[in-house]
Symmetry: C2
Subunit: 385 residues, 2 copies
């Protein structure tokens, strides 16, 4: 068991914990902050009050959708113009990722393309980021505790990941209260995104003992609370636990790789405007099914197969549940929460070959418990369609 674990320097979790921000920003990081936030929800009133209270002057930047290069460069220009000394991200995964990239660029010269691999110059970041406080308002991506930012490159119809230890936030404040008003459809897909992020690392080729314990806890909690939170948005116990799953997902994915669901969601997200969480959710049951089949047909993967059995036990609560019962349980959960299928997300069958080809090169696909053939990947897409 060899492990290399990093995360945000400080993680604060709990209903109402947004208020701890007051003490955190009190004189420590400077007098001018760049706030990155979503346009509509949630109301940033409390956030602004906290800054005023702490005598920190704020400038805000709205993120409308999944960030592309121009979005981030705009945020950085604003932050440089206002001489912001630190950054707060307050929103969903897109906002948190924009904040990460902006905080990095505020303390490094040049523009985003200088630092992106494949599509840009791929220069290493010279200096640590400006201090970055990530406050997710969905549950979610877990991005508040990871070291990468996903960025859309529209003219390449692709998403690229900016990955660097400097991108780890200084502080993550996960306050489930901020998710209490989220509508049902968002709760479903973001919750399934989080669920996927604790399942894929657990069966990943790069799983490790530390990630295992995060995943076990979070898979059990997902099974207990996802549907409850979806059915009744005012079930705060459920909401709190879904936020917890999201946080565990971030800790897990940052320290083990993911798998085919994310390996496919990357390229699909670059080609279609469907939300990342919805794509992962649509794919998860079929990915598990095809993986379990491949593992039992090919090679000696007993240890990995036994992990699918663990998941079956944890989600069904039955000590002797078999792998298929587990997968069926998860498929029913998706149906119950009315998770849309790939076809409902605008994906067309004619794009399958391109998706398959692109997915094979993705970093997440390398974490999949077994290398899948093109046919197997196609089967995943067919079953999720």
């Amino acid at each position: 068991m060899n492990i290399d674990f990093s995360t945000a320097n400080r993680i604060i979790f709990g209903a109402g914990e947004l208020l701890t921000l007051r003490k955190i920003i009190d004189g420590k990081y400077g007098k001018r902050v760049l706030i990155i936030k979503g346009r509509k929800y949630p109301n940033p009133g409390t956030l602004f009050s906290i800054c005023e209270d702490a005598k920190v002057k704020w400038t805000y930047f709205n993120v409308e959708q999944e960030p592309d290069i121009e979005t981030i460069n705009q945020a950085v220009r604003l932050g440089r113009e206002k001489e912001c000394e630190f950054v707060i991200g307050f929103g969903g995964g897109s906002v948190i990722d924009t904040g990460k990239a902006a905080a990095a660029l505020l303390n490094n010269q040049g523009s985003l393309l200088d630092y992106l691999e494949v599509v840009g110059k791929g220069k290493p970041l010279k200096n640590p980021s400006k201090p970055y406080i990530a406050i997710p308002t969905t549950a979610g991506t877990g991005s508040e505790v990871t070291r990468n930012a996903v960025i859309l490159v529209p003219d390449k119809k692709a998403k690229v990941s900016m990955r660097n230890a400097y991108l780890l936030p200084e502080v993550a404040i996960v306050d489930p209260e901020l998710t209490y008003g989220i509508p049902r459809t968002i709760t479903g897909v973001t919750g399934m995104d989080a669920f996927t992020q604790v399942i894929e690392p657990y069966v990943s080729r790069y799983s490790n003992s530390l990630v295992d314990i995060f995943c076990e806890d979070a898979i059990k909690k997902s099974a207990s609370y996802l549907l409850r939170g979806w059915k009744d948005g005012s079930d705060y116990e459920a909401r709190d636990n879904i936020s917890w799953v999201s946080l565990m997902g971030g800790l897990a994915l940052a320290n083990a790789k993911l798998g085919a669901a994310h390996g496919l969601a990357g390229p699909i997200g670059g080609m279609f405007s469907a939300p990342h969480g919805a794509i992962c959710a649509a794919l998860l049951p079929s990915v598990m099914l095809v993986n379990a089949e491949a593992l039992s047909i090919r090679g000696s993967h007993l240890e990995k197969l036994s992990r699918f059995k663990d998941i079956a036990r944890w989600v069904t609560g039955k000590e002797n549940a078999n792998i298929n019962e587990g997968i069926e349980w998860i498929a029913s959960l998706c149906e119950n929460m009315r998770i849309p299928r790939l076809s409902e997300l605008g994906i067309k069958k004619e794009h399958f070959p391109t998706i398959i080809q692109k997915s094979k090169k993705s970093s997440s696909m390398r974490g999949n418990p077994i290398q899948l053939t093109g046919q197997e990947i196609e089967k995943i897409l067919e079953l999720s369609f």
Copy 2:
């Protein structure tokens, strides 16, 4: 469930991982390092080679025993004289703690007493520490992932804790191979120290969901591997798992408080020269017994009591084990590993009143699941004598 979690920026765990140090120090932290190490064991040859290889010039400082103020000031003087840019601690808990304090003072003016509470001026640290890489060679204290350093104040016959987020190491490298040569007596007491550090936070008044999952995993592993590693020092699977328990203990105690075993071990360690781990080990079974009694007699502490039952299940492996069976199991483990009793550690009954009085003021005692009376604390000491 409200949580405030911090740890080392990067945690590397695994047999042979000491070698990753080469890449870590490659140009990142500077050209001159202060190495804090124990006098005898383990041979720092590999460490020196790695530094030479990375063209980092090293100066070393030997720690002979639990550090006092003068030890740390000496280390700091050496580091300042040689203009060291970062610090590596390579040894047991005393070494790791000396390194923490030295790294902090190398980047802050003045001497240690300026920054110690109670016995000194209690000034806050103005600057972050110099980068500090902690490499424990015992399993152990878990100090590589905590934010405090325990310092002896001989003329007050007391130990004080220097506590600051800046004391969290930049990198912790936990390489179980470094513990493979440790003699049996050390394996027993340091292992029991680690075991205590996953039991006390689990039943602590400040337990939380994140600490819970570290503790559950580590309590189960302690039960499986402590005696095995003690019986056969070349059982590397056991050694690896004991190192793991030690790391989990650090993560747990840094993020929930401890309890009466540590509340008593602090003052006893200040008054007598017995090793900290041995004192904790001698106290643990009686602390659990008296706590469980107090919880069942007084007030409404069903949730805490159920945690003692969890521990009983995990250590005995029996689904319906009761609390006493768990405590007896741990007491037998201590007997089997020939853990000395308090009387064998040089503690005298006439000192009980002073110990009890001092323990009541300790920070760890505040984490105990229930406030103990003087009589109850005395009973702990009597039963451990």
